[in-house]
């Protein structure tokens, strides 16, 4: 069918112009990944807009974490293209992806428990006096850390407190703050509300909304908890069998619809499996 093929053919030459106009900061086109004989991603076409919070849903093994590993530069895709702000990129390392402003935030892995809030915020980006010696400019870092946390409206009672003494929500907030302070424009958040009380998670939700709306930070959130996703996200994508199978704005869908979609898909897979067994 020529009609079906034509948009695909036309897409590539005009891509740059279209992307700039629609403000897409991150796009994947036909990204695939296999581990040996196991095909995990069969062709992911995904778009993330500036200041958008996109939720990734999928069963275990559907390919969410594989996709995130590719996006953060941990591993390359087998085929397919990744565009950051309209430019095609290929990441050779996590540091490479970070240079393009893409950063993963892990709740428990991110901070050094024995370092203070300020020290954690500046980890490996420390300010020093007299150049080569590496003498820390502690006062300045402290002040800048304080100012930055005030800017993004994160209130930490004591900037000199060790990260160990902070709550899970505070640690998460510091980890997010560090990423955005280091000019991350696209954050990948892995279960950002896990193991948090209602009050704490509300504060992280506020921070996420604040960063995305006021600073234009885009985020991809992975979570198994639909309630969390509906609280945090603007849009939801379901990955099934290595493809994006569902793409809806949160206001156009509901937890019920999403659950129904996941269950029906699960039933279909189950039926297919049974058929295979019977044959």
């Amino acid at each position: 069918m020529t009609e079906a093929e034509s948009p695909l053919v036309e897409a590539s030459p005009t891509r740059d112009a279209t992307l700039a106009a629609s403000d897409v900061v991150l796009e994947t086109v036909g990204v695939t990944k296999s581990y040996g004989a196991v095909v995990v991603l069969r062709g992911i076409d995904m778009q993330l807009r500036r200041g958008e919070v996109l939720g990734l849903v999928g069963d275990n093994g559907a390919g969410k974490s594989t996709l995130v590993k590719i996006l953060c530069g941990f591993q390359p895709p087998d085929t397919g293209k990744i565009y950051v702000e309209g430019k095609e990129v290929s990441f050779r390392s996590v540091a490479d992806a970070r240079r393009f402003g893409i950063e993963t935030v892990y709740q428990d892995l991110a901070l050094v428990p024995q370092l203070t809030v300020a020290q954690n915020l500046f980890l490996n980006r420390e300010l020093t006096l007299f150049g080569g010696v590496g003498w820390l400019s502690a006062g300045k870092m402290r002040q800048l850390a304080k100012n930055y946390l005030e800017d993004i409206k994160v209130e930490i009672p004591d900037i000199d407190a060790e990260a160990e003494s902070l709550s899970g929500g505070q640690r998460q907030a510091i980890a997010v703050a560090r990423a955005t302070r280091q000019n991350a424009k696209i954050l990948l958040l892995d279960e950002p509300l896990a193991a948090m009380g209602a009050r704490e998670s509300a504060l992280i939700v506020d921070l996420v909304k604040d960063l995305s709306r006021n600073l234009g930070v885009s985020m991809i959130v992975i979570d198994h908890n639909y309630t969390h996703l509906f609280e945090l996200c603007d849009r939801l994508n379901v990955i099934q069998q290595g493809r994006i199978a569902f793409d809806q704005q949160v206001q156009d869908t509901s937890v019920e619809e999403l659950t129904k979609f996941m269950v029906s898909q699960y039933r279909r897979e189950l039926a297919a499996g049974q058929k295979l067994l019977e044959q």
């Binding site: 050094v112 980890l123 420390e126 020093t128 010696v133 820390l136 409206k153 003494s165 505070q170 506020d206």
Partner: protein
Amino acid sequence: MARAIASDSNTRQTPAPKGRGSVAYWLVQRAMQQRELTVVLVTLFVIIYFSIANSAFYTTANIITVAQYIASIAVIGFGEVLILVLGEIDLSAGAVYLSSPWFMYFFWTSGMPIGWAIVAAVACCAGIGMVNGLITVWLNVSSLIVTLAVNYALFGIVLIKSNDIQVDMPGQTGHFSIIFGIGAWSTILWAAAMMLAIWALLKRTRFGLHITATGGNLLAAAESGIRVRRVKVWCFIIISSASGLIGILDAIRIGSINPGSSGLDTVLPGIVAAVLGGTALAGGRGTIFGAALGAIFLGVLEDGFNLIGVNANWFYLAEGVMILVAMVANTQLGIVARRFRR
């Protein structure tokens, strides 16, 4: 509109209101927040005890004896603080301490001027540290085993090269000797200088922050781009160089070197000093001043037992019990102190 991220487990102490009772509370609170508190208390205790028990304790001669005795324990302890903060351990520092004067002696007998012989010997020690570090980080062997093996290997090298014969140290005369070991306060002043240098390195520089980060959360440190392996190798180089230098100074002070002792008896007091001082064996936390106090504690203990004439057969038992008591006090007080720190 500020967003307060509060947590119930983390209510901060409000500044104490004015008044005698609360000033005392504030003092207790401040004291409790110091990681070195226990070691300060037990060291004060043994100093007071021995100065009451024996009048010879407070003589200049005795204080010099103690100072000379603790210099090496302290310097090895400072190095171990860095290594322990990384979550590693170095058992070879004692062997490095004992073998570096031999390196210097061999360089000197081969015709090198004494100053250069010292430099070359310390460089050899740095090389040993580098080997420790590289094997640990690149071949993934536990540093406990690597450094234990290097400890024995160094002992062997010294025995082979020296033919198990004691020799006299060079550098016994002139201003040079007074600076490098002979002067009564020479070794302790060198130790003090190294204390300040290593403290500044750990607490005031970028590199020191990276040591803490590497030991505190290896993954997060590596994720942030810190070259954690390089940090570790450098710390092994630092402890070896420092131990080697103080070893040479002690050997010049004593005047002769004996090939017959293994390094473990030298390195273990250093590790004890570091741990007594409040450095965690698990990594991430360390205090240089604590290690200095731990070394003073061990030195005063040894000296005090000698002064009051504890029977030689009882000596090690008494020392062992005292170390255990100090360490238990440390742990128990640590639990109380943590409440004040939050």
